[in-house]
Symmetry: C2
Subunit: 212 residues, 2 copies
């Protein structure tokens, strides 16, 4: 047997710290996603290889492959939200605040297209979309924290007399879907003679948020 240069160097966690492997597994899945560019590349075995563990070890921390994907998606939603919040400039101008948030949304989608894809370009699993949302907050609510920022941004513009919006929620829905469509199509139809992305973003925000 030839000397195995890739011999396992990983030392197992100490007693009581086994839960640390969970984060290592998610991190490994995210590395695979970034490297391969597609969610399909995340398999139990590929994640185990990337994490340097045996495949069955994953079952101590995740029920199945889908549970790993869910964890990756949750992380991505939080990253998007954080990127938008971080974009807020100290200036108190509500129009500028709305625009910078939308620019951050675009920037995130362009900088991390694979992560962005995992957010919305995926079948809604049963666990994620309960048949009846009831009155209580549905499980996907924390994933849409970024949308609340958008609603608030339009409402702020309207309150300051900078937007003619009378229904910030509906206008935010329009703007969100439009932005999602733009980043998706720009990514999936790259050879098309798209107008400059800055122009598209600007016009979408002005027209759909009814800026005056």
């Amino acid at each position: 047997v030839i000397t195995d240069m890739t011999a396992k160097t990983r030392t197992r966690n100490r007693r009581g710290e086994g839960v640390l492997l969970r984060d290592e597994i998610v991190a490994a899945a995210e590395r695979i996603l970034e490297r391969e560019g597609t969610e399909e590349a995340i398999t139990l075995r590929s994640v185990a290889r990337e994490a340097g563990i045996a495949a069955p070890s994953i079952y101590s921390h995740f029920d199945d492959r889908q549970a790993i994907l869910d964890a990756v998606v949750d992380n991505a939603f939080e990253m998007l939200r954080a990127a938008i919040v971080a974009s807020k400039s100290p200036s108190g101008d509500p129009v500028e605040a709305l625009l910078s948030g939308c620019r951050a949304y675009f920037a995130f989608a362009e900088a991390e297209p694979t992560r962005y894809k995992t957010l919305f370009n995926r079948p809604a699993t049963a666990a994620e979309t309960p048949a009846v949302p009831e009155g209580a907050p549905p499980p996907w609510q924390h994933r849409l924290a970024a949308f609340e920022i958008l609603v608030g941004g339009i409402a702020n513009c309207a309150a300051a007399g900078r937007s003619a919006s009378t229904d910030p929620f509906a206008d935010a829905a329009l703007l969100w879907t439009a932005m999602h469509g733009a980043v998706s199509l720009l990514h999936y139809v790259p050879g098309f003679p798209w107008p400059p992305v800055d122009h598209m973003l600007n016009e979408m925000v002005h027209r759909l948020a009814r800026l005056t």
Copy 2:
């Protein structure tokens, strides 16, 4: 051996008519797509089973799995275009013509979500997006025939004084991306309290095509 009730009933094509199997293969792939709801379900073996042939028989007509998918996508593009063209009412009103075309786009996406997904929710393959579009029409051009209808629809409104658009191409790009985003998100985030789809479509068309 128990009597095989699923015995092959298919009779092979006559000499010179072998090319007919090509269409049967594509039709089988489309049935699988519709039934399973995901492109991944289209495999060489599943298509062969659905078509009632042996797996290797496919190689006489398609280089590989991707070639089957490309054929399915081409069909879907043509169906979308036909649906939009068919929506044209005899009335000569340009605003009504634009709206009805957009409604047909939405209706197609809602009626055939899986087919719609195959159009734009897929990685652009190398064959489909040549590095340099050059001056000549790129290979995906026939796939975007529907977009030309949209540009023309906005231009007609502008010419009739019903739209303030000064750049129908750019405004059509905005409207297209917005509509794509709306149908995508409505499909992928079904539990969300979306405004009525009619309202969203109407507002998108009016604001992005700058109807007056």
